[in-house]
Symmetry: C2
């Protein structure tokens, strides 16, 4: 399997730059006329992949909203992963995992090994235990041609508390940019990316020379706009993988409406 960065670039070239969040919140299930249980989540996930699997570049399921239904919910996630793969869509598992040593290696095996039922193309990870704690995930991702997105700078109001704390004159968020840059080496497009919020008032990290992709959640419903992306990210805007969940899912469950919502937003992203 080729490198995640190269596969993502090829996929985006073919299908456009939109990542569609698969977030079966209780409210969405109700809006779609589904039950708020594992069966409702299964129906929702299946309709998403049937309607959009041949159209969107990347799906981003939110693990929490499957975990909320225990092993039955995780079973739904496994079937979703298999169906997305069959339809030709890539999947970034949004699970924000983070731990140390052999426990981090366990998370890596769950989401980044070839023989796991939960294997995705990439995984979001959280560096509260230090970037170095993610090493087992980086190593397995390198070995299996998968990617990682490291939480860097989020746009929720309380995000700056940790992310803008400083050591040696650098913010924690900037340290993550620099660490991921180092892990990527001279690859372009590179396999390791960052999660950065799309509704920050200003971009307070320096992305100069960054060659990974930048996962930006919340385009549409959470207030992020396409023009805002260009303004916020400047020269790095071409690296952005904009993600929309609610704006797309609110158009469902009718498959044609879902597809129209994706086509419209993809066109807007250029």
């Amino acid at each position: 399997m080729s490198d995640f960065g190269a596969r993502l670039a090829a996929q985006v070239a073919e299908r456009g730059r939109l990542c569609v969040g698969v977030d079966p919140h209780p409210q969405i299930l109700q809006e779609w006329g589904l039950t708020v249980d594992a069966a409702g989540v299964a129906e929702c996930a299946q309709r998403m992949v049937e309607a959009l699997g041949d159209l969107v570049a990347v799906f981003k399921p939110q693990s929490a909203l499957f975990e909320a239904y225990g092993s039955a919910g995780i079973g739904v996630l496994e079937r979703f992963l298999a169906a997305a793969d069959k339809a030709g869509a890539m999947v970034i598992m949004d699970a924000k995992r983070g731990d140390i040593g052999s426990t981090m290696a366990g998370y890596a095996r769950a989401y980044l090994s070839n023989d796991s039922p939960l294997a995705a193309d990439a995984l979001t990870v959280s560096p509260y235990l230090g970037f170095g704690s993610l090493t087992p995930a980086i190593q397995l991702a390198e070995a299996t041609g998968r990617g990682l997105y490291v939480l860097c700078r989020t746009s929720n109001p309380e995000g700056g508390q940790v992310q803008l704390a400083e050591a040696g004159g650098r913010s924690v968020a900037q340290m993550m940019v620099d660490e991921v840059n180092t892990a990527n080496g001279d690859r372009d497009p590179a396999p390791f990316g960052l999660v950065i919020g799309g509704t920050l008032p200003t971009l307070d990290v320096d992305l100069t020379g960054f060659t990974g992709s930048i996962l930006v959640p919340g385009i549409g419903a959470q207030g992020g706009t396409v023009e805002g992306l260009t303004e916020l990210f400047g020269a790095a805007a071409g690296r952005v993988l904009p993600t929309s969940s609610r704006e797309i899912m609110a158009a469902g469950p009718d498959p044609d409406s879902l597809r129209r919502a994706v086509v419209a937003l993809t066109a807007e992203l250029g």
Copy 2:
């Protein structure tokens, strides 16, 4: 259901201060003569709860090592939770979850709601997105009498990168101490605790007045000693919930050996 802090205190008074990690690493499975798959993990978890469920105060299963086997592994975790509850042991789910808004609420429902198959007595959470991002978990824990352990200061070598970064003259780790203190209010024992490493050279956070419990992993195999705990935590040592996994599990799978290992370490903890 009474408050987690009060329940934990009563449990510790009756059974002693030891928390036993349930970490079915591949290596442990092999040492126990089990297969490295969901069936092996199921056998391992069942033997742990059968041997120790009426003896130990608290179990701490490591979610990663169940997730590595997908929905089958999560099914094992559900059965373990039910069996531990039936045997009278409390469970802290070590999953280090963290997200924002309605996604954090999804994690809270998964691990802290009364009707979830994955509900535990408490959950470990990660504050990279800011302490405020954990609010949905705090609210649900308050409503259901459950607890949270917030990652604060870990003893892995790379832990200081984020945890010792500073803003306004305070380290990120100290901010977490102060935030959890505020969430606990004047309760003592309080429901919200901290995760702090037991092998730090010095305690670089101020725990004065802290009334939650302090989950300290790695007693025994990872180098933490009982004497070291008193030395490191000083006046706060009485708040520590020492956790041992490998030292206990290495005594298995024989139930009597497992019990002897727990009794010996519990006695040492005083």
